[in-house]
Amino acid sequence: MELQVTLQKRFNNFHLDVEFEVQGERIGVFGPSGCGKSTLVGLIAGLSKPDRGKVILDGETLYDGTKNLNIRPEHRRVGMVFQRPSLFPHLSVKGNLTYGLKRCSTANRKIAFDDVVEVLQIKHLMDRGVKYLSGGEKQRVAIGRAVLGNPRLLLLDEPLSALDDSLKFNIVPFLKDVCSTFTIPYLFISHSLLEMQIMTDQVLNLSDGRVLEKTTAEALVRARMGESMAGYMNLLRLTSPQPVDGIYAYNWGNQQLLIASGDNQPEGLFELLSTEIILFKSHPEAISARNLLQCRVIRTFEARHRVGVDLDCGGDGHLVAEVSRQAVEELGIMEGSEVYAAVKATAFRKLV
C-alpha cells in the first residue's frame, strides 16, 4: 500500500496541516487526543471535505483540491472500524457482516464470508440481534463487517480504546490475524504506545495537527522511556508453557522464563517493563527473583535522566532494561560487558 497525503483543514480553532507519504502494510498514526488523528482519517475516508490538498492511494487520486476531484466515500474502497462498534441496530449479525459484501463489485470480492467468520470466531453469533452481543463480540463483528467490504485500505480509528484492558488484548490477535490472512493494509490510529508496538511497523507521529516525524513505535517508546514512570515496554511472545510449582515456565531463546501470570494456552504475549529488571555485575549467590538471565550489553542509550540498556540474552532474546546514570558507572556497563538480569516471576503481565 502506498499513500500520499497533503491535506489542510481548518475548523473552529483547530488547523490540520499534514504532508506525508507512507508505504507498507501496518502503519500507525500516533498522537495525544485532540491532535487531529480522527480528523485525518475522516478526510482520507472522504467523510469530510478538506480545504485543500491531495490524497493518492495506490496511484489513484481520491481527492485533489486543485482539480476539484473528490471521490465519494462509497467509491473509495476504504474500510473503517471506529472506537465503538457502531453496528446497524436493525440488522442481525449476518446482516451487518454482509452489508458491505453485497455492495462490493464481483471483481473486487477477494475475501470469502466463511473465512472471515472463521478467523474472527463469530459463527455461533450469526442469527443474533446485535443488542445481544458482548462488547468484544460486537467489535469482532464490526471488524468482520469492514473486512468483508473488501477494502484496499482499512482505517482503524482507536478500535481498542473503548474496550477494557483484558478485552482489548483479546481483540488484538483477531485484528492482526484478519489483516494478515487477507493481506489488508491498515492505518492504525491510537494514543497508546503499547498498541502501536503491537500493531504497527511504521508510525506517523502527530501533534497539534502536524506530522512531527515518520518513525517506529520502538523509537517512540525508547524516546519516551525517561518521561514515563513505567519505562520501556518489552513485549515477549512466548510459547509452550510447562506448569512448575503453580507458575509457568516458558521457553525464550535458549533460556527459560518463569512467569506467574502464565496459563495453558500454547502461545502468549507478555509485557515486561524495563523498570522491573534489576541488573547485577556478577552472579548473585542467592536471590528471590525467579528469573536470573545472563546477558551481554549490546549498547546503551540516553533517555532523559535514565539510561536504557539493550541486552542480548542469548538465542533471539532481547530485553531493554533501565538504570540510573550512577548505576551505569558503578556496574561498569558498556558495550560488550556481561551482566545478570533478575526479573521476578510476577513482573510479567500477560496481554494476550
Binding site: E74, H90, G100
Partner: protein, 228 residues
C-alpha cells in the same frame, strides 16, 4: 345502531378515509423534509423550518382559505395546473385530504426529525464506506432506524386528521354524504334543535376511533422495544 342515518355512516367512513389517505400521501414528503432538515445544510433552512411549522400556529381556517385561493378555479394552481388536467378538487373529498395533510404536516415531520437526529452519525459513515450511496443509505439505514419516529408521526397526523374542521369546511364544504366528516356532522347536529343525542353518539364514535389508534400505536411501540 344508535339511529345513525346513511349520511352519518358515510361521515364516519369518510373521516377514516380522509385521515388515512392524507397520512399515506404525506409520508414520503414528510420523510424527505425531515431528512433534508436533519442532514443537509443549505441557505433558506430557517425559511423551510418556518414554512413546515407554520400550520401548527396558523388558525386552520386561514390555511383553508389560502388553499381555496390557490386551488380554486381562479387560483394559481387551480387555473394553471388542475384545470388543464381536468381535475376538480374544491368541494370534493380530495380537498379534505389536502387540507388535512397540510394541517397535520408539521406533526408528522417533527417526530421523524427527532428520530433522525438521534441516529448515530457513524452508522451513516459506516454504510457509505461499505459502498452504499446516499439514497441506498437512506433506504437501508436511516429509514429502518428511524421507523419509530415515522410511526409516531403517522399516528399523530392520522389523529389530527380525524379532527380536522376549520380548513376542511372551507375547501371541501359540508356536503352530507360527499365531504361531511365526523366533526362537520357533529357541528351540524349541535347547531340544530334536538340534535344533541346524535352529536353525542358521533362524539362517542370519535373517541372510540381515537382510543383504537392510540392503543395500536402503543402496541406497535412496545413490539418494537421487545424486538430491539
Amino acid at each position: 345502531m344508535l339511529g345513525f342515518t346513511p349520511a352519518d355512516y358515510s361521515a364516519i367512513l369518510l373521516s377514516v378515509k380522509v385521515a388515512t389517505t392524507a397520512t399515506l400521501l404525506s409520508l414520503p414528503f414528510a420523510f424527505a423534509v425531515a431528512y433534508v432538515m436533519t442532514y443537509r445544510r443549505f441557505r433558506g433552512m430557517v425559511a423551510l423550518d418556518v414554512a413546515v411549522n407554520l400550520p401548527l400556529t396558523l388558525p386552520p381556517v386561514v390555511i383553508g382559505y389560502i388553499l381555496l385561493i390557490l386551488l380554486g378555479r381562479e387560483g394559481l394552481i387551480g387555473r394553471h395546473v388542475l384545470q388543464p388536467l381536468g381535475i376538480q378538487l374544491i368541494f370534493t373529498w380530495k380537498a379534505a385530504v389536502i387540507a388535512t395533510a397540510v394541517v397535520g404536516f408539521p406533526l408528522m415531520v417533527r417526530p421523524m426529525r427527532t428520530a433522525m437526529e438521534a441516529i448515530d452519525e457513524r452508522l451513516i459513515h459506516v454504510s457509505r464506506l461499505l459502498g452504499a450511496g446516499w439514497f441506498d443509505t437512506i433506504i437501508t439505514v436511516i429509514l429502518p432506524v428511524s421507523v419509530r419516529g415515522i410511526i409516531a408521526g403517522s399516528v399523530l397526523m392520522f389523529a389530527r386528521g380525524l379532527g380536522e374542521f376549520g380548513a376542511t369546511v372551507i375547501v371541501a364544504g359540508n356536503i352530507p354524504g360527499v365531504t361531511q366528516t365526523i366533526p362537520l356532522a357533529i357541528y351540524e347536529y349541535a347547531s340544530s334543535p334536538r340534535g344533541d343525542v346524535m352529536a353525542l353518539s358521533l362524539c362517542a364514535i370519535s373517541i372510540a376511533i381515537s382510543v383504537v389508534v392510540l392503543v395500536f400505536h402503543e402496541w406497535l411501540a412496545r413490539r418494537m422495544v421487545r424486538r430491539d
